[in-house]
């Protein structure tokens, strides 16, 4: 049963930030509610105020510029991202990730800002956006700041956001030349949350060596995890299948998973090893095309 709360419905971002400042420690933001309402119903989360920013249309946008890259307003729905032609063209991995995110109903209502702010380590968008070097723009009544998504997640369901802040925009740099990116999660039912997920981004230089690599593990620890040792296996190397295997092994070491009913800690590491190998390979095949 959901405990009673006061519902706040701001009409503008400015109004939202004022309300947030007014009720700073007793206010939760909902932006779709596809994640938040579950713990509320389970009684795990009780709040005095619930501020619904889903209606803030000024934050619902997808903008792309060859120089600036991609800008996603926080209230943009998953479905909008999935169906955006500009995203399909420049960041196909994002659209493919969205296609596998929960059900159409959830994607129609859930938003990218809400998803990232929820800080669930099993969420799909964060690992993909992290490999793409995304940043989040946070706003409070005091002002705005931009931080890399890499530094956004601090602990289990916790982020670097202050209580008077909210995400207003996600920024993704323009794709590098000769870049490939891939994401896969392991699940038993299509579109379920990942038991683990792996996103990989690789770029190739003219000689066919790996210029850069980013690998991010989902649900492999309390936050999405950059598999930096796995990246080091690949960066600057002449790529071979053996290296993908080694990167997988390194990623399994980078992971810090917890066992649960869906998979033990060991089996999660095993899955990370397999998926990292596969995703790095997929990313590389795109990059070196």
């Amino acid at each position: 049963m959901i405990q009673d709360f006061t519902y706040l419905k701001p009409g503008t971002v400015k109004e939202a930030l004022t309300l947030l400042t007014d009720h700073v420690d007793e206010c939760k933001i909902v932006c779709g509610g596809q994640s938040l309402l579950i713990p509320m119903r389970q009684g795990l989360l009780v709040t005095e105020y619930l501020m619904d920013i889903k209606g803030l249309d000024e934050l619902s946008y997808i903008k792309y510029d060859a120089k600036e890259g991609l800008k996603l307003g926080a209230t943009t729905t998953h479905r909008a991202i999935e169906q955006s032609d500009v995203i399909k063209k420049h960041y196909p991995v994002l659209a493919l990730m969205e296609e596998r995110l929960a059900s159409i109903q959830t994607r129609n209502w859930g938003t990218i800002g809400g998803n990232l702010a929820h800080a669930d380590s099993a969420g799909d968008p964060a690992p993909v956006l992290m490999t793409l070097g995304a940043k989040v723009k946070l706003a409070s009544a005091k002002g705005e700041r931009i931080i890399p998504l890499d530094e956004f997640y601090t602990d289990l369901f916790e982020s670097a956001m202050e209580h008077d802040e909210m995400i207003i925009e996600i920024q993704v740099p323009p794709p590098a030349a000769k870049m490939g990116a891939a994401y896969q999660k392991f699940n038993l039912l299509q579109n379920d949350m990942g038991v683990v997920g792996v996103a990989a981004m690789m770029t190739a230089d003219a000689n066919g060596t790996c210029k850069d690599a980013r690998i991010v593990l989902g649900n492999a620890g309390v936050t999405p995890i950059r598999a930096k040792n796995a990246e080091q296996v690949l960066i600057g190397k002449k790529i071979s299948d053996q290296l993908f295997v080694e990167a997988g092994e390194a990623a399994a070491g980078d992971a810090d998973p917890v066992g649960d009913i869906h998979a033990s800690e060991d089996f999660r590491r095993h899955l990370i090893k397999v998926l990292t190998k596969r995703m790095a390979k997929q990313a590389w095949e795109q990059a070196s095309k």
Partner: protein
């Protein structure tokens, strides 16, 4: 039965394209389920549940809850008669469950107290205010542990927690093993499974000062619930009316007493106001019952040509805290473990053991899915061990029409042989499979209703009353329950076929104990055959009355046969000579001095052995793809070769088989109920995985043309039996794709990865050895 052979030749309604008669009400949202029932002055109930797997209830203080504004009553075990009840009424020792226990709880989630309040929210808040003092007792969760001498006693006087034992034996088992060229032994474990009805358990009870009770309840057998409630409330059955409205699924989990019906009844008796209790999904998971987890040990002896000489099987099942229908599942698993084969000697010993976990009970397949998972995989391995064709090996031992399972059952119709042909062709046509693909199949059979009468009812198993109005419209009253399986449509089809009118002429009233004759309800695949026979006989009775008037009116020589088809009453030999149905009905009604034509029919099985009047047969084939590195299984394709006698309703049959396939495949590789210290770890639909549309392969069905003499128009079981073979078929597909033997279900990804690792190591050692 006079029209049976004629009807077989010229069916005009049966197996035509009949849309479910409840369909429009359901898709337009007009169908009212128990959840939708709202009565004047109705209160809402909630149940406080035990947080402990095993504890004495020392004291319950409800004073704070009662002080909460809006709370009308709190009841505990002390407000009840304390009667221990169970569905095996013939055996007092198996009636072991107080729905609101007086002194002790035996599993996490067991009801301890119930609240009625003006809103559901207040009732839920009140639960937190009830103070219960427990003395926590040592608990035991696994049957193997529970049988140990030092294990805690769950039910007083039950030695080693052994709840029920069952023994089945025929032929000479020892001699069979002596003569066997090859003997194989395997141990298996089959997990539990949640019934997972779309509609969770729900009840609205209303007791009036006249001493009469009316209960709306989502159930599979209104009559069982009526009788069981009469027992626990100390009332006469007739003073209790149970109404099963539209029911959102049952699957074997809704014909016993549950907390919703019992607690709402106790509360309404205290308050004289209707009380509604609807379970949340979590309550449905943790506090109803589940498919019985079973440890299986199987030893099989065959000749080198694959003749089945002897089998010995032992089962230890996790009974959970109470008996429920688990005793029947324990028997049926042993019986169906022999299916569908002729064994030289067969011996089965089953032990059902109490533990401090959720009770286990009947669930679609009733013990047979576990039996087939073990039997059909072991047979596949035996065929491989001996280099025999798995289809031909099975075929030479398969049931045939006229076979008697010694002392147990008589097989009349049996289309197994054709099923083997169909499966062999399907597999052959598949040709060479792509890498990481495998095909497996499994055989199974199932019953068409149970003959065993442990409920000890004095009523016939099924009855029907048909009333024909003067305008030719028809009212059918049956106690059978429509739970989404299409029973009402099936009965309307049988009635229309027998009377000679159309389906849209028939209005079906079912599942209401006041207005319908008693019927044991929808379990064990009994309604098509048993209620179907009752309906057919009731219609034959009415039709006979009608045709007397037709013969007189038409002034015919009495040797002429008359019949009615498509609302046309006619001479069989001269179909153009006749009169319209409505005209005959009017004439007959006038002729009876204005009495409506009423036909009555009933069915109770006789001379059909001790299990079931008829058996269906099936082979399920599946093609799967396996990711060798992650162990993930994907269902690619399937084929069902199916003998259900004469299908009554093709559309309904296909729907039932699709549902059975998805539930059975889910049992094979997805649906998993992990417990930690007696607590279910995934009581929600995020963490409990069931097949969705995206995971379903095509499920084509090849119907085998057979005729079951005991069934209405030759029909027998359909829709439950197909839950039996699929888990084994998946196991066999894995075996053929990867050469590994999966002895536990659900077959989860890490098990495949580990088995492959073990196999690789074994292969390596074997190579070194050479």
């Amino acid at each position: 039965m006079t029209t049976t052979s004629l009807a077989k030749q010229k069916l005009s309604v049966i197996n035509t394209h009949v849309v479910n008669i409840d369909g429009i009400a359901k898709v337009t949202g007009r169908a009212t389920y128990t959840f939708d029932v709202k009565l004047p002055g109705m209160l809402y109930g909630k149940i406080l549940r035990s947080p402990h797997p095993h504890a004495k209830i020392l004291k319950i203080d409800a004073s704070k809850a009662l002080a909460l504004h809006g709370v009308k009553a709190v009841v505990t075990g002390k407000d009840t008669l304390g009667i221990k009840q169970g569905i095996w009424r013939r055996y007092q020792e198996l009636c072991d469950e107080q729905i609101l226990p007086v002194d002790k709880v035996r599993y996490i989630g067991e009801p301890v107290a119930a609240v009625a309040a003006v809103t559901e929210e207040i009732a839920e808040m009140a639960l937190d205010l009830i103070e219960v003092d427990y003395e926590v007792l040592p608990a035991v969760y696994e049957p193997m542990d529970a049988m140990k001498k030092e294990a805690p006693t769950i039910h007083e006087g039950v030695e080693r927690n052994i709840n029920v034992t069952r023994h089945i034996e025929w032929g000479d088992v020892e001699k069979g093993f002596e003569n066997a060229d090859y003997i194989r032994e395997d141990s298996f474990f089959c997990g539990g499974q949640a019934h997972m009805c779309m509609e969770t358990r729900a009840a609205v009870s209303s007791f009036t000062p006249e001493g009469k009770m009316t209960i709306y309840h989502s159930n599979q057998s209104a009559y069982y619930l009526q009788a069981l409630m009469a027992g626990v409330l100390g009332m006469r059955e007739g003073d209790i009316r149970v109404i099963a409205q539209y029911v959102g699924g049952g699957f074997g989990g809704k014909f016993e007493l549950d907390g919703a019906i019992f607690c709402s009844a106790i509360l309404t008796m205290k308050l004289f106001r209707p009380v509604k209790i609807c379970y949340t999904r979590e309550e449905d998971f943790i506090a109803t019952k589940r498919r019985t987890p079973m440890h299986y040990w199987v030893r099989t002896g065959v000749s080198k040509t694959g003749k089945f000489l002897a089998r010995e099987a032992r089962v230890v099942s996790n009974g959970g805290a109470y008996t429920g229908m688990g005793a029947t599942a324990l028997y049926l698993t042993g019986f169906f473990h022999s299916f569908p084969y002729k064994w030289g000697g067969y011996r089965y010993d089953g032990y059902r053991v109490y533990t401090n976990t959720l009770p286990s009970t009947s669930m679609r397949g009733f013990g047979a899915p576990q039996a087939m998972f073990c039997s059909e995989q072991q047979l596949e391995w035996i065929a491989a061990d001996l280099g025999l064709d798995p289809i031909e090996m099975r075929r030479q031992n398969g049931h045939t029409p006229g076979y008697e399972v010694p002392g147990q059952a008589y097989i009349d119709s049996c289309g197994l042989d054709e099923a083997f042909d169909i499966m062999a062709k399907w597999i052959k046509d598949k040709g060479k499979l792509p890498e990481n693909r495998g095909i497996g199949f499994s055989a199974a059979g199932f019953m068409s209703g149970g003959i065993f009468n442990w409920f000890d009812t004095p009523y016939s198993f099924s009855s029907a009353v048909i009333t024909i109005n003067e305008d030719g419209t028809v009212i059918l009253h049956i106690g059978a329950t429509e739970i989404g399986q299409g029973s009402n449509t099936t009965m309307a089809i049988i009635a229309a076929e027998t009377l000679g009118c159309k389906v849209e002429d028939i209005k079906v009233h079912s599942g209401d104990t006041d207005h319908c004759p008693a019927d044991l309800g929808a379990w064990g695949s009994r309604q098509t055959l048993m209620t179907g026979n009752a309906v057919m006989r009731a219609c034959e009775d009415a039709k006979h009355q009608l045709l007397e008037f037709a013969l007189a009116k038409m002034g015919l020589n009495i040797v002429y046969d008359l019949d009615i088809k498509d609302r046309w009453v006619h001479i069989v030999a001269r179909p153009e000579r006749g009169m319209p149905w409505e005209e005959l009905v009017k004439i007959a009604t006038r002729g009876k001095d204005g009495q409506r034509i009423i036909g009555r029919g009933y069915y109770t099985p006789h001379r059909k052995g001790m299990i079931s009047p008829a058996y269906s047969y099936m082979l399920q084939g599946v093609e799967i793809e396996i990711d060798k590195e992650t162990g993930k299984i994907t269902l690619i394709d399937s084929l069902t070769a199916h003998d259900c006698g004469q299908p009554i309703n093709h559309l309904g049959l296909i729907g039932q088989l699709e549902g059975a396939f998805s539930m059975a495949a889910g049992y094979g590789y997805l649906e998993y109920m992990p417990y930690e210290d007696g607590k279910l770890m995934n009581p929600n639909l995020v963490d409990y995985k069931m097949i969705r549309a995206t995971e379903m392969p095509e499920t084509p069905v090849a119907e085998i043309d057979t005729y079951e003499p005991e069934g209405p128009y030759g029909a027998k079981e359909a829709g439950e039996g197909l839950t039996n073979p699929t888990a084994a078929a998946i196991g066999n597909a894995i075996f053929h794709a990867l050469g590994i033997q999966m002895k536990e279900c659900p077959i989860r990804p890490h098990m495949i990865v580990n088995a492959l690792k073990e196999k690789a190591e074994k292969d390596k050692t074997a190579k070194k050895g050479k």
